[in-house]
Amino acid sequence: MIQIREQSKDKDVIKSTAIDNTKSFLEIKDLRKSYPLGTGNSHFVVDVKNFTLDPGSQLAIHGPSGAGKSTFLNLIAGIIKPDTGSIRIGNLEMTTLSEPERDLARAQDIGYVFQSFHLLQGCSALDNLLVAMAMNGKVDRKRARELLSLVGIKEKENSLPSELSIGQQQRVCLARALSNNPKLMLADEPTGNLDSANASRSIELLRSLCEQNNCTLLVVSHDEKIINRFEKSVDWKEISDVHNLND
């Protein structure tokens, strides 16, 4: 069993009633995900026996591309459903939630930073944040502007993603992920499109913002330089081993 724990610097600031600080914040058991092959067999991409994260902790998972790390994050976020297993975030058991309930959980409790940013191209930087807030029914323009200011692109709030540099888009994506005060932040190759200097700055920003917001951070990356910036990291192979299943 792989279990990584790290104490939050200030557990008291986690105020959500959905979180019981005596328990781990994220708990995954016997999680499997496979995709059907044309031959009638299935190809397993995720097989996690046991995985837990404490509230406010930060962890990096490293592993090669195509190993199933992104699928793992998508499973946690409830974007895809597992074949078997359980995923508990705070007091929410994601695998038993209906699709609308998972949508709501994503809007309220989970922030997601993507390698490709996935910004709404027709919306300005500010609008991207406002739309994300609207999904939670709590649009706050002042806070949206504060977040953009925090990530250093306040002057670009009316720019469309296509008018922003890659680094700036990444910052908008980060601000958007934080816009609903998530309890869990998932980041899939968050610096994959950035140069080395920007990547370092960006990952530090992500870490410090999560720390300030008491948000549990789970990052997956194949980039050793990024992984090395985390106090705690783990190899994907130690979490999920699908070799036996696919043999």
Partner: protein, 407 residues
């Protein structure tokens, strides 16, 4: 500012943003709808309105008495001022029918001359004082006065006045025959004394002169001075039945084209095959249009599937995604529908002009009827169904796949 905290506000906001972002695709979609819808509506309208307008263009007459021959030819010649005259009637026959009980009005007409292709029709000036060309509508003068029965004076229909630029006091020499031919000008000089207001009937395409003017025109056959081309009739009660018996069934010297509307209807009925072809064409256009609308919406929404996937991953509910797709398709459909009305009006105006120039009949293109509204609503519904089709597809398709940029 749109309230994003309200679900409707958010849907509306995202639909507008999507429309702007995919402006080209959205405009092309709306344009396709406008074209398909406009073609379908205008084909239906022209077909329906041309028949209605022709039926209403009989100038307020119930029947036409003319030489033995085709009823339709009589009507086309005497009321629509088209086609050639089937022959003449004697003045006595005109006098006789005028005095027949049940005949409310009888106006003789004589044709045979033109001025630059526009017919000169000789008649009794009483026609312009007493006759109602439409219920409650007598001829009105735009300028001048009605001609005198004994002078070489002309009253010009509005269309001719506009086309030939004729004004009060202008003098002209008619040409012989119903069609304009150089070198056939009569010596008689007519003076324009009045200009008629437009009626939207074939009388607008005519230069009206005293009947004696045509009968006595220099160069005409002497026999013509005692004959008329036809007699236009307004009848009382059931007089038409007895007159039809007298002229068409028992007599053999004249033909009564009565009732005018029924004769025209039988003409349109004979042309039923042509109407059928038009109907097939219009419904084919309609069907293609509907498929085009559905397919356009599907492609427009396909372009946006990545946006919808992004909305999903940031926690958008099924209802919001559906709403945004339907909102976007609704905007495209509504613009398309407005465009369809404009296309229909544009085609209508061109067709109206052509028909007016050819026949003098003004077809109505602005009168929206229930079935037109039904067609427009159907376009919006089909457009939204196309969007719904995409919405269902987007929602059930693999989110991760939809997140890939659309190439």
């Amino acid at each position: 500012m749109i309230n994003l905290n309200s679900r409707i506000g958010l849907i509306f906001f995202l639909a507008i943003k999507g429309f702007r972002q995919h402006m080209f695709g959205s405009v092309v979609g709306a344009f396709s709808i406008a074209l398909a819808g406009g073609l379908f509506l205008s084909t239906l309208k022209i077909q329906e309105q041309s028949q209605t307008s022709f039926n209403n263009a009989s100038g307020g007459f119930d029947g036409v008495l003319g030489a033995r021959g085709s009823k339709l030819q009589l009507i086309l010649n005497a009321l629509f001022h088209m086609d050639s005259s089937p022959g003449n009637l004697s003045w006595e026959q005109y006098e006789l029918i005028k005095k027949t009980p049940g005949v409310k009005e009888a106006y003789p007409i004589a044709v045979g001359d033109n001025y630059f292709g526009y017919r000169l029709v000789g008649t009794d000036p009483e026609l312009f004082y007493k006759h109602e060309w439409k219920k409650g509508r007598k001829y009105n003068l735009n300028k001048g006065r009605i001609f005198s029965a004994t002078a070489k004076e002309a009253l010009v229909g509005s269309f001719v006045a506009k086309k030939l630029g004729l004004k009060i006091g202008d003098r002209f020499q008619p040409y012989h025959g119903l069609n304009f031919k150089e070198g056939t000008q009569h010596k008689d000089v007519y003076v324009v004394v009045g200009l008629l207001e437009a009626t939207g009937t074939p009388s607008d395409k005519v230069i009206w002169v005293p009947i004696k003017g045509i009968q006595m025109m220099e160069g005409h056959d002497q026999a013509m001075s005692q004959s008329v081309s036809a007699v236009l009739l307004s009848l009382r009660g059931a007089a038409g039945f007895s007159l039809e018996m007298k002229y068409n069934k028992q007599g053999n010297q004249a033909t009564l084209a009565w009732p005018v509307v029924a004769t025209l209807a039988s003409f349109f009925q004979k042309m039923g095959w042509f109407r059928g072809v038009l109907e097939v064409i219009s419904y084919s256009i309609g069907l293609i249009g509907l498929l085009m609308v559905a397919s356009t919406m599907r492609s427009s929404m396909h372009e946006r599937k990545r946006d919808f996937a992004i909305l999903r991953i940031i926690g958008s509910s099924r209802a919001v995604v559906m709403g945004v797709i339907l909102g976007h398709t609704f905007i495209i459909s509504m613009i398309g529908v407005c465009g369809a009305v404009l296309v229909m009006l544009a085609i209508g105006v061109v067709t109206q002009k052509i028909i007016l120039e050819e026949t003098g009949v003004l077809i109505e293109i602005m009168n929206f009827q229930q079935h037109d509204i039904f067609v427009l609503v159907s376009i919006v519904v089909v457009g939204m169904l196309g969007g719904l089709w995409s919405a269902i597809h987007v929602y059930h398709s693999d989110l991760a796949k939809n997140l890939q940029p659309v190439s």
